[in-house]
Symmetry: C2
Subunit: 434 residues, 2 copies
């Protein structure tokens, strides 16, 4: 009787089910960094490229290039909406209003565009390559990764029956709620959702965030996903990433300037941002050398994010360093964000309790943990370790050493030169899970 | 854009969300027994009554009597639909066509009605009492129990938020699928869904049946729910219940006639039904005495359902008895139907494999196992042991002894008399779970 004829007909007319539907559907730190680049390096040209570190999953066999390109073209056709820009202008981020300058918002509205790109197949993998002005390339990182991640999901879902899909999501929800139930028993735990780039899908990420908010209350500090923060009145979380020190290092002329570039990033950053946005990421060329040679003002920064070193070790090292520099660690923040799951979060929370303000940036194993949920026991919904890294800056190679040798990127000879300049103290080789 | 205005408005107009929407939404054996009663005892008056054996759950505090009566009135207003009667006439049941006589189907269409009833509150419990012609009272059993069971579910669901409801069903589905996955690894297992009366809800029962069919194939023999069998082209399963020997016993004049009445039921039954419908239920007044004193033709029946005795013991006893009577147990069927769960089913399947054709009648713990699924850890969605039993037949008390003393029903002095007549060998006292 109550058939919605128009809807039914419209459903047959769908050309595309877009994955990214708003330019805000990205990590908040990309917007902070975009303003930083727009202000300080508006004319720099870069290139970046995706890599699937989970080589056993041959992405090109699952995701058709043509379908991926349709999704990418859809993203390139998006513009920041008026209401989104008004929100960026009027909202407080980390308690501060007007973080984004009027000039930048005006540029976002009228002049922002995404660079050209190229999608190729190599050894069964999909490689997305972006090239152009840094301001045009940088935003591709999260859109590109989220697109590939969800296209991989869709391919796996396409092999399941309606009932199997139902089993899958019942199990994934049960798994999620088991994690949430463990966390809700621990008051004072502080978690940010950091899983946009490797999410199962946008809708699943949204479900996860809403579930966490409902069940955990203030234990959920916020989400790195700007669109979800906007849509659900959550705090947008995140500060900056490796691409900044990598780019400044690539631009450095001599070896001495190269070493100094890692602090130059912080100097420039604190001209635009303050307070809780002063979170450093010291592992780009090795945390230990970074802290040892840091100018004293670096110890005034609010905290540190550790992304490649064992976070227990990195936190202890940071606390000892702060004490050595005469600062009180209990007023500082430590954020761990590397492949965390619920047990790590609880152990870290307990370990650092009363010593430093600890927060977990919970990514892939929050928004894409479908391990063991597949109705036929297959692994094609397990998460993979997909990254998008700067390759060149003004034609010069970009390098990351990291605290974990397996996460190092760049040409071998350049890595060698960087190791000579920065040293290679305390570089581990932990397995990269996600 | 595509708002369905009519549907939206209609949703505000709902007066009742009916639980039982078809008179076929009952156990198939009730229809077989109804024809039996219509044919043999059309003028007998009876009364029956519900009892909640799970006294810790005070049903009257959860289920408003007025809402229950609205549901009962809705059922009383239902008629067998033409298409349903045509299906009953044209379908094969257990491989036999025309199990229902034209005269009976005609009576179902024009003269069938449900008796008067009374709903009262006693010690925090709801008591549903039915009185009238046996043909009017008998069908209330399954409708009444299914109504109370789902009303209890609705009350518990009403205390949950949208997200909590989602958690609940995700967990219940995960639990169901874990069971199904265990069963699908065992080829040759034979299961019938027997859970109508104590189901979580109609829609959940339907989900369970569809999931079982999709995943287990022929290991699902069918469902006792006639409406689901009709709707989904499944086999309708079930034969007869305790109410028949109970009624015939109550009608018996002297003690000797009382003892003979338990075989008289079978004599009458086999005048109407044959083949796989010749499944006896020997535990009404104790299985051991039933078998010992049975006339030899009873051993020609196709099988036995054990409903109150430990099914391992009951099966062994039945096999030994068949051999003693010179029959080959491997050609007979053994059906267990008392509070089974997946482990029991597998153990029984293995135990009787090659010895007798074993089938599981899986009831409450298939269609209402929400234990451990409640999002706040509460128990108000756990199943309860609700039954509806004959109380009087032509004004005389109805009695069941059962193989489990806790399942005995009837006035104490009558139970004593029955025990004198039938003896009380091998009567156990196992806890009644569901």
């Amino acid at each position: 009787m109550n058939v919605n004829f128009a809807e039914r007909a419209h459903n047959h007319n769908w050309k595309l089910d877009p994955i990214v539907r708003s330019l805000l559907d990205t990590d908040f730190y990309k917007l902070l960094m975009l303003q930083f680049i727009w202000k300080n390096f508006p004319q720099v040209h870069v290139s970046s490229e995706t890599t699937n570190r989970t080589v056993s999953v041959r992405l090109a066999e699952h995701v058709p290039i043509s379908a991926l390109i349709e999704q990418m073209e859809h993203v390139r056709g998006l513009r920041f909406r008026k209401s989104e820009l008004i929100w960026l202008a009027g909202n407080t981020f980390y308690g501060t209003r007007s973080i984004f300058e009027p000039g930048f918002l005006d540029w976002l509205e009228h002049d922002f565009r995404l660079s050209e790109y190229e999608v190729t197949e190599k050894d069964g993998q999909l490689v997305l390559r972006f090239e152009g002005l840094w301001t045009e390339v940088t935003m591709w990182e999260v859109y590109g990764l989220a697109l590939v991640s969800e296209m991989k999901t869709r391919a796996a879902l396409g092999r399941l029956s309606e009932l199997e899909l139902d089993v899958l999501y019942a199990r994934a929800k049960t798994k999620l709620w088991d994690k949430i139930e463990i966390l809700r028993r621990v008051p004072g735990v502080s978690i940010s959702e950091f899983g946009t780039r490797r999410r199962h899908s946008f809708l699943w990420q949204e479900y996860v965030v809403e579930a966490m908010r409902a069940a955990l209350g203030t234990s959920l500090s916020g989400t790195s996903n700007t669109f979800l923060a906007y849509k659900h009145d959550l705090e947008a979380m995140g500060t900056n990433a490796h691409e900044l020190p990598m780019a400044l290092a690539a631009l450095a002329a001599a070896d001495e300037e190269l070493n100094a570039s890692q602090y130059r990033v912080l100097e420039l950053w604190q001209k635009s941002y303050g307070g809780e946005l002063l979170i450093m990421l010291p592992d780009t060329f090795g945390t230990t050398q970074f802290l040892a040679a840091a100018p004293d003002w670096v110890a005034d920064w609010t905290g540190q994010r550790c992304d490649s070193k064992d976070p227990f070790v990195a936190g202890d090292e940071y606390i000892a360093w702060l004490k050595g520099r005469g600062r009180d660690p209990r007023r500082k923040r430590l954020i761990a964000s590397d492949g965390l799951d619920v047990d790590d979060i609880l152990q870290l929370h307990e370990y650092f309790s009363g010593r430093i303000r600890f927060s977990a940036g919970w990514g892939t194993l929050l928004t894409n943990d479908f391990r063991g949920c597949h109705p036929r026991g297959e692994g094609d919904l397990d998460p993979i370790s997909l990254v998008c890294k700067l390759m060149t800056v003004e034609g010069r190679p970009a390098v990351k050493l990291s605290d974990n040798v397996r996460k190092a990127t760049g040409p071998v000879e350049e890595i060698e030169r960087y190791r000579r300049v920065f040293g290679s103290v305390a570089v581990e080789g932990a397995a990269v899970l996600v």
